[in-house]
Symmetry: C2
Subunit: 214 residues, 2 copies
């Protein structure tokens, strides 16, 4: 991902998103305060890292009781969330697309998957997990109509390169690509390429190194 | 992920895995040589970054024709791959588990998903996408029998914490966790927690920042 000046580092953003999820779950359980070392323990990192991340976003109201859960949720949300809601479309409603939709929309987040696109006649025109599925032919029209800003690409890898032009033309501003083909977009469109193979190969590499070190 | 001394940085490992996939696809198309700036362009990074990554693993045989594709594939494979094959199990054969299995095993990689685990009576005892699905009750036995080293956790988030003890007891050495609950394991077990929500929230954040900067 291209780095932007003044932006908070990618890894910190990832952790803020993770902290918030933990805090929301604490809040649900009636927990009002949490210590940095407890939050750190849940995420398998050090308390120093947690405090550093929160300092980066200007949060430092650590008290004797720890952080106020609700206040911290609000603080992180102000950083992460857009003032206006962003609509998300899933392109490719196979197993992965359906898993992402189901999973994401059950969370009650500000980001919502509001449309899906596919070319399979069994899917187009249907409502899958509460989301209407449109034909790719109507991508540009529907993106404008439904005010969609982000897409998740979960299509077969082969067709992924064909999606670049429609995505640009439709005015999409952010892409999360799960196929094996890295997609490149002009500046101004944020793209994250996340190949699951990479993640598993990374775990396998560190397991191997771990074995060599012990 | 806990960092290990002497290990190559996580981000470099990720990129090596990505380069290899691109190189394999080049090789398939009959391309014998590739310049660092071409490889860089495909991955949306700079040629300096590519050369730095390859220098880190001691590869520097850049010629006038660029890198020899086959030699570089072999070189990266020596770094990433374990000398012995590692078997992988998927825990949770819902949409996500099935997507991962199908996707992964179509690639002809050294890492192979060889078993799945679930508790759903419609799935247990079946072969799904060529992979036998066992009941979670037999997890420890089957992991030993099938010599499984890595697991992908794609179960519902709710049950993820209950998987920690069986995973430790079965002697699993690496975990790729896709649920929303970060899982912690004792030292010696490598874990990557990858919540899809985090990835999408990250893209949304950088889209927002991008808007603010333009």
């Amino acid at each position: 991902m291209a780095t932007l000046t003044n932006a908070i580092p990618e890894k910190t953003i990832e952790r803020l998103s993770e902290y918030r999820r933990t805090l929301l779950s604490c809040h649900k359980q009636g927990i009002t305060h949490i210590f940095s070392h407890v939050l750190a323990g849940i995420h398998g990192i050090t308390a120093v890292q947690v405090r550093r991340d929160l300092m980066l976003i200007g949060f430092s109201s650590d008290t004797k009781k720890g952080y106020d859960v609700q206040v911290l949720i609000q603080y992180i949300s102000n950083i992460l969330d857009s003032p206006t809601a962003m609509n998300v479309a899933v392109v490719g409603m196979g197993h992965l697309g359906q898993a992402i939709t189901k999973y994401f929309n059950s969370k009650g987040l500000k980001l919502q998957i509001t449309a899906a696109f596919d070319v399979d006649p069994d899917k187009v025109g249907q409502t899958i997990d509460g989301i209407p599925c449109y034909h790719m032919d109507s991508f540009e029209t529907m993106v404008a109509e439904l005010d969609i800003s982000l897409v998740v690409v979960s299509s077969p890898t082969k067709v992924a390169p064909d999606l670049v032009v429609p995505i640009i033309n439709a005015g999409i501003r952010g892409v999360l690509n799960f196929t094996s083909t890295p997609l490149n977009f002009p500046q101004g469109i944020i793209v994250e390429n996340y190949d699951i193979t990479t993640l598993l190969e990374k775990v396998a590499y560190f397991v191997k190194e771990n074995d060599n070190n012990t």
